[in-house]
């Protein structure tokens, strides 16, 4: 069972003033199997987590996070970003199985 139904959910404001600091909330559905849990068959369930999260805005980094097995299932993040101009946030979640889940959200500077 290596395929995961990982669905990102974002909350990003659609408008901001120039250089305003906006709050971003990002969640992705994922079991975050930590590799030390024993399954119903008595065998250890192998580790399968999202090990990295990256947020950029117009090719500039906002937040890069190295993730270990002690992050809860359905990793949730709340952080702030400064918006220098209109553009698009890109979000990437890196899965142990090699998959990269991507999502984006645009914001308009008024």
């Amino acid at each position: 069972m290596n395929e995961i139904d990982a669905r990102p959910r974002l909350r990003v404001p659609s408008q901001a003033a120039r250089d305003e600091v906006v709050q971003i909330r990002a969640l992705i559905t994922h079991p975050m199997e930590n590799g030390s849990r024993v399954g119903p068959d008595g065998a250890v369930v192998p580790r399968h987590i999202i090990h990295r999260f990256l947020c950029t805005f117009n090719d500039q980094k906002v937040l890069d996070m190295d993730i270990g097995p002690s992050i809860s299932a359905n990793p949730y993040l709340e952080f702030d970003a400064r918006v220098p101009a209109s553009g698009r946030f890109y979000f990437e979640w890196y899965d142990d199985n090699g998959a990269i889940y991507r999502e984006s959200a645009s914001i308009e500077v008024t």
């Binding site: 996070m65 002690s70 949730y76 993040l77 400064r82």
Partner: protein, 140 residues
């Protein structure tokens, strides 16, 4: 140096006091220091610029919301030394990071002190700790 009777007594008492001090750190403490030093390179940490919010009591160790904030930080690492995998996560802030504040949900295997370490722009390090009592340990 001439040893007076008074001086000899003082020295003896000081020596006894030092001998009675607990040996700093057993094997566990050494490992803990090592985990901290892996981030700080063994540098001294200050408290102040880095703040951490964590509940003093968490009913469910599988999901404990914590937040860290440190203006001027390049990166922040969060450690839970009593967890099987003590390094929880490391945040690295980019030029568009607004306030260097992040909130996330972590797993805690048992009651313990959560440690946050921040590397500042000038190369110094900051530290914050918060004790969380866990009612039901999270499967970490």
């Amino acid at each position: 140096m001439r040893l007076s009777r008074r001086r000899t007594l003082t020295l003896g008492m000081a020596g006894a006091a030092i001998a009675m001090l607990p040996v700093p750190g057993g094997a566990d403490a050494a490992q803990d220091d090592d985990l901290i030093a892996r981030f700080t390179g063994g540098a001294e940490t200050v408290s102040g610029p880095l703040t951490m919010d964590a509940p003093s009591v968490a009913e469910n160790g599988a999901s404990v919301t914590i937040s860290v904030e440190c203006p001027g930080a390049v990166s922040i690492r969060v450690l839970a030394l009593a967890n099987p995998t003590p390094v929880i996560c490391t945040f690295t802030f980019g030029p568009l990071s607004g306030s260097h504040r992040v909130s996330t949900r972590i797993r805690l295997a048992e009651s313990q002190e959560v440690i946050a370490l921040a590397r500042m722009e000038d190369g110094s390090f900051a530290e914050a700790r918060a004790h969380v009592s866990v009612t039901l340990g999270g499967c970490t």
